[in-house]
Symmetry: C2
Subunit: 342 residues, 2 copies
Amino acid sequence: MADRVTITTVARHAQVSVQTVSNVLNSPHLVRPETRQRVQDAIDALGYRANQAARQMRTGRSRLIAARIEPAQDGINGSILDRFLHGLAEAAAPARYRVLLYTAADDAAEIATYEDMLSAYDIDAFVLTSTHHADTRTTWLAERGVPFVTFGRPWDAPGSHPWVDVDGAAGTAEATRHLLRAGHRRIGFIGWPPGSGVGDDRRSGWAAALAEAGIDCHGLDAVTADGVAEGVAAARDLLTRAEPVTAIVCCSDSLALGALHATGGAEPAVPGPPAPGRIAVIGFDDTPVAQAVGLTSIAQPLGEAATHCLRLLATQLDAPGSRPPGDGQILLTPALVPRRTA
Amino acid sequence: MADRVTITTVARHAQVSVQTVSNVLNSPHLVRPETRQRVQDAIDALGYRANQAARQMRTGRSRLIAARIEPAQDGINGSILDRFLHGLAEAAAPARYRVLLYTAADDAAEIATYEDMLSAYDIDAFVLTSTHHADTRTTWLAERGVPFVTFGRPWDAPGSHPWVDVDGAAGTAEATRHLLRAGHRRIGFIGWPPGSGVGDDRRSGWAAALAEAGIDCHGLDAVTADGVAEGVAAARDLLTRAEPVTAIVCCSDSLALGALHATGGAEPAVPGPPAPGRIAVIGFDDTPVAQAVGLTSIAQPLGEAATHCLRLLATQLDAPGSRPPGDGQILLTPALVPRRTA
DNA sequence: TTCCGGCAGTTGAACGTTCAAATTATGCGG
DNA sequence: CCGCATAATTTGAACGTTCAACTGCCGGAA
């Protein structure tokens, strides 16, 4: 193993003190241009890279951002987090941050992990996913002044911290309008039990778009837990009512896949226009399953969301005390991906 | 912010020197039991946690393991890496390691990232995924004596470094035997173009199982790139030959989904026994799509693979120079998940 | 008694960096 | 050509930990 190149090596090579090398790296304006160049040349020639641990000891900053990786839950809706994490890691690199993973079974375990990571690793910031009502994690972090962003709105106290989210209502509204344009009037909705922020939000977009068109959404929706089998049942329910629906917007791709089966429209991946006369179905999240089956779905801009999360953190970290523009509340609009089923 | 609790705080509190505290943590046998207990009590009372950066400065070890997170490629086959990473993070925690993410567009970029992470963060080890022929990454790391494991065999030089992989051939062989038991004789295979280690391996298991049963596999297979549309075409090919197949084993769930469509057997998620008379289809990887569609598939034990990866690294790191038992070459057997399609 | 070896614990230095303060160099007006 | 302000650079200390060497102490063999 070759001797490690430290700031001292560079200093000797460039005939300056170590502090000057440090200044070139951190406060270049303090150094005369020609000296700066000489030092820079030495850095390049030696392939010097600042040691993060040593730097961290002095500054208390690790340039590490922690994010939780969840178990692939029901499977069909997983892979969203995956893409988000990838975006996060990719956005972090150019800002010279890195993403550290952790797992936690529940909120309490997650908070215990925060303690560990903060004291042992000096984590600079956290990215939280899957926010929910009465989220103890955010208050814990906020109380201690730890920088963090959530991917997902704070469902209880809107303005309390920076967040990035995708406008589910806008997505379902667009899906509904898409169906209205295609001539549908009786457009159903399969959603989750009230109380989940995400689910209520998505339902509201569908209701709003119908109201816009002067249609009463009463009796057009079904409520069920997430899952393919649940989707089948809910769709059958909607189809056997007094006035059956001709199209269904779903809260998830799982439900949509179930609906698709119930309406007899599931063959995988034949590109082409939607078949006329069929019950139209639209899912949510544009999962691999939707792509495979040809299910029209609503795609979240996950890469963009990750980039925004990182930008929010970076402004907070690099200029402490400064509020990001717009108070750091970012709502992104998802996009409808039309396929065979609508 | 409360004052930081350092080893010095603990030492004062327990009336010993800092070195004794350090010994309690790292070499307890050097400390008399009663002193040890006193120090331990102080640690607990103060909630002390060793600062990783300072520790790292002295020891050169970061307790950080780096792994690449890839973009969700074709989508349908993604989510495997996701589950693997989750397993990795989960297995790392009890061993007091953490997983650091990085991204890289190609092997060259990845090697550049190694340099950066090694010199800046003192990464202890790397976990490589997607090994392939002529993999420059492994040689680069090996040359520099950097500890690493690959998830995926080294396809060129079998014994060169520790690895964990899933026995694809065993998987396809089991799938094939499953079909043989169900009475099928003409069992086709849809695979990838020769040259990819993984693809060749999977094909060989199918061929071997047929040979076992005294069946000539000649003319029973199709070769194509990965993808749903490709699967459709390949399956049609197999079905229009002189002696059409009655069952198909596929190299991936994407191909299988295509095959399923070509054979008219794709409705999602109705549990129950396979329909008699239908062309049987078996996929590979047990992706969410397979679960959703009811496709019989071969599941890789990803959590187990991750655990093994970590164990291999941990033995290597905690006892330098020691070879793990079995020379660190671990081949896991995947499991057939029977569903509707076979 | 003297000396030695081993155990328990302490001391001082070092890891590589940045901060704060001190020193030296440079430019400018009188 | 001096004095002074400011720019440029250096010096010394510190961050929290572990390593290597050292000091006492006790028990047993010579």
